[in-house]
Symmetry: C2
Subunit: 196 residues, 2 copies
């Protein structure tokens, strides 16, 4: 099972790819699709669409995980994010991917246990859960990985329409973290053993 | 020279096609691409994208004319219109079309001579200028035709980025209307002659 998290934006679209192998979650890659402000809007949208389509071809994800946006305070931002999100969603639909969507508060609640958690807390949890050597950067890529982790923690009963299953309880996340730490210790022990 | 005007929306995307032959402007077709509210958002965006791409293949326009939106009062509407506009713009870019964009007040000013003109006044002018037997319906299709007429009246010096040339003065529109009326009288005279 491969997940592709996307945090769409006109200037920067974050992406993160996570692979689930039985009970293990492997970080595959993350990064940012950037488009230049000086380019025509249509060209920028084409670049985003084609980069996401290329990611899909390369990683063959089963699910695309998106942030569910309800309403944006600033209409012009809504229009800009909306156009980027439109072409991202189109790329998913063209590839026949299942789509899962989570509200930002749901992601924070699932990862940190607090719907009002700040960016650093979320990034810290993403780093811990995926066993990354440092917090993922930039923010857009970290948000995309957080969406994947949220999906992994939210159970597997989802509809094609992206309705999420029950939120993982804190106990499940704690167990995941403990498992992750155990693996990290093993990894370090092997590495120390190999170096000596 | 063929123009494709598009008024994007998630539920209804209006379109209008106008052909310019020397000094004559011919109405080719207009209509509305509708998507059902019950469908998944990605499916609706795919339907809009594919319908616009199909229109482009069929009519082979030189230019796509869009409404320039700056800011929407309602963020959620911005997100919805934005996603539809994103896939429409993508279809234009994929086909290598030149894009022209006009603010709604520019369209009203060009067609009616008043940036605050109401929908009926704009529709009346579209009907007159294109010699239609009745005002174009529905509103979204009328708006798309108005965009084409606005382009026809705004001169031909445009950049690929869609910066519009000078607004046509009232005298030019008056001349166009007079020419249109003359042609209409001739047409009626021929029709009356043929029927007698």
């Amino acid at each position: 099972m491969v997940l592709l998290g996307i945090d769409p934006g006109l200037a920067a679209t974050g992406f993160g790819v996570v692979r689930r192998e039985r009970d293990r979650w492997r970080h595959v890659e993350h990064g940012c699709i950037r488009t230049k402000a000086g380019l025509e809007l249509g060209v920028r949208l084409l670049q985003i669409h084609d980069a996401v389509s290329e990611l899909i071809r390369r990683q063959r994800p089963d699910v695309m995980v998106l942030e569910r946006l309800y309403q944006l305070r600033d209409g012009s931002t809504g229009l800009s994010v909306g156009q980027a999100m439109g072409v991202v969603r189109l790329a998913a639909e063209e590839a026949g991917l299942t789509l899962a969507e989570y509200a930002p508060t749901h992601v924070k609640l699932t990862l940190v246990g607090n719907g009002q958690a700040d960016k650093q807390q979320v990034q810290f949890m993403v780093q811990r859960i995926l066993g990354l050597p440092q917090p993922p950067r930039p923010d857009h890529a970290a948000d995309a990985l957080a969406l994947c982790v949220c999906y992994l923690h939210s159970g597997l009963s989802r509809t094609k329409a992206g309705a999420a299953g029950p939120v993982a309880g804190p106990s499940r996340i704690a167990a995941a973290l403990a498992e992750d730490e155990r693996r990290l210790r093993e990894h370090r022990a092997r590495k120390a053993g190999g170096a000596s």
